[in-house]
């Protein structure tokens, strides 16, 4: 279904091919041909994926007919009600689970090969730090597992901790940190190997609004700097809007993609550089419009005009 370019295409470029009907109505007409870009494989390519869990109380169809392509360097958020299969989808990409039908490829390889090749970094909804390791040792874990020399490791960890603002806490243990700090350690750990693909499952769930906004800005910056593609699961519409190139809206039971909303955020944003995502954006008109667009996609229909003012 999606036919995202091989490289980071501008939002405008991708808009027609990918958008849902609702979204399309917002889009300006663009030349279809300009979308194709002949470069390396997309970061993630999901084709015809179903996932059925066989539980004690019966089968659960967690995902149905999922098709999704994420370009290298692209930032895609998954949003949808609880239980719609966001985490499941991400776990399929990470090869922590296997699709019941369909295929998942990551950078053109099987998901398993990508995992073995360490092509992605992952951060779970819970921080998932090892309680017996210090902050620094937690961040170093993936490097240790992959046999990175200890001096290199030390430098890298110091750099990462600096980035997430936890240098002073390097020798603390996870239980001595606040939830938000733990999340930041988990993010530093996910970034440790500078992956080309970042998988993040509600990583900011435990943060207060301000820290969250700071982390969002940091994430945008880091992803921009490293050129990593990001698959980002969230419950927060403003967060999805603020961060993403595209927002994938899912519907529950069975989990399907209801719509894919491409973000159109003013002159800066439309240029495709992530630098455009600064704090001021949150108070721009376009931001609220995109929030509303995603909200409507999520609710399944335009919010009725009877209530309140249509802002579109």
């Amino acid at each position: 279904m999606t036919d995202t370019g091989r490289d980071e295409p501008s939002r405008a470029e991708r808009s027609l091919a990918e958008r849902s009907p609702a979204e399309r109505s917002l889009a300006e007409p663009v030349e279809a041909g300009s979308l194709r870009q002949a470069q390396g494989a997309p970061a993630v390519e999901i084709t015809g994926v179903d996932k059925v869990f066989d539980t004690r109380s019966g089968d659960v169809q967690a995902l149905e007919a999922i098709d999704l392509t994420i370009a290298a360097g692209e930032f895609v958020s998954l949003i949808g009600p609880s239980g719609c299969g966001k985490s499941t989808l991400m776990r399929l990409v990470a090869d922590l689970d296997e699709p019941s039908t369909g295929t998942v490829t990551v950078f053109g390889k099987t998901a398993k090969q990508a995992r073995l090749d360490q092509d992605y970094g992952i951060a779970f909804q819970q921080a998932g730090l090892l309680p017996w390791r210090t902050v620094a040792d937690n961040v170093a874990l993936p490097l240790e597992v992959h046999g990175v020399a200890s001096a290199t490791r030390r430098d890298r960890v110091a750099h990462l901790l600096d980035m997430v603002g936890l240098t002073e806490f390097a020798d603390r243990y996870p239980d001595q940190l606040s939830g938000g700090m733990q999340q930041r350690v988990a993010i530093a750990r996910a970034l440790a190997e500078q992956p080309r693909l970042l998988l993040m499952d509600e990583p900011f769930g435990a943060l207060d609004e301000m820290t969250r906004e700071k982390m969002q800005a940091d994430l945008v910056r880091i992803a921009g700097e490293t050129g990593a593609a990001v698959v980002f699961v969230t419950h927060s519409i403003p967060e999805a809007v603020f961060l993403s190139d595209r927002v994938v809206v899912m519907s529950p039971r069975p989990g399907r993609i209801r719509e894919i909303v491409t973000m159109e955020l003013g002159p800066d944003a439309s240029s495709g550089t992530r630098a455009g995502r600064t704090e001021g954006l949150r108070e721009e008109r376009a931001f609220f419009d995109m929030v509303t667009a995603v909200r409507e996609a999520l609710h399944g229909a335009p919010v009725a005009g009877a209530r309140g003012v249509e802002t579109r």
Binding site: S20, R56, G83, S251, R253, R258, E259
Partner: protein, 324 residues
Amino acid sequence: MSGSRSLSPKLPEPVEGLPEPVEGAKAHRRGSLRRAQRASAVGWGIGGILALVALWEAYKLLAPADGVVIGGLRVLPRTTDLAMPHVWEMLGRLAEPVTRSPNALPLWLVILLAALTTLGIAAAGWLVGLVVGVGLALVMQRWRLAEWGLLPWIILSQTVPLIAFAPVVKSWGSRIEIGALEWQDWMSVALIASYLAFFPIAVGALKGLQSPDRIHTELMQTYAAGYWATLWKLRAPAAVPYLLPALRLGAANAVIGAVVAEVSTGLQGGIGRILIQFAGQASGDPAKAWGPIFGAILLGLVAAGSVALLGVLLKNYRRNEETA
């Protein structure tokens, strides 16, 4: 792509963990699946025992009579009939009469009767241990100073060999006479059994009573609930998951304590008594001595198992325990 499922004005309920309706056939299949799983667990368990039996016999067959001695230290046992009777001899002996006396009962029946006697004594000891243990736990939960003062001694109490004070208990008990209740020797045994039983119960109950989250104790505080209401509505139910394993351990300990105390005080009629009596006959009749040993094990398993049954009754109080 969108709207395969129309969104009602009401929100979709995230009801994970709820048993979802399944068709009868499937439910049936799963039910029998679980039953099959349980059966296979039992099967494996029996397999484990059979493996032990096979190991016993194979070792007896293959190893030298004097065992395996390395550097003067015997690291593997002797295989003589005195040390390791054949399994079938141990089992076969159970069916034979206990002695050649004309009116002798079969060995298994003697063991069963003795085990029942001991079970009763152990149950009494367990109850005393329950009362004392829970009482101590309540006191320690209520006053931190009491916890600090008592808990170290409660832990230390278990390093006192209980046979050291068996005579004291029996002697002091024999002087007690409260109204119609005259102190019986079995009560001394029960009391000693309770000494082993109270320990895990006190520790477990204390942990359990202290287990409610702050959010729950504060909730009770916002209700202006007093000590007893908090105890009854919050602490006691919260203690159940901690108390149950403690009670199970307590039951096993009560049985062990009762058996040892029977030996120690010379109480007649229980399994401890026939344990030493038949051990005394083991030179001439090695298989016979194993009967009461199996009896004692069975007794402990039954005691612990009955308490586990109690856990089934209280299953609603252990909802957040893992099923493992």
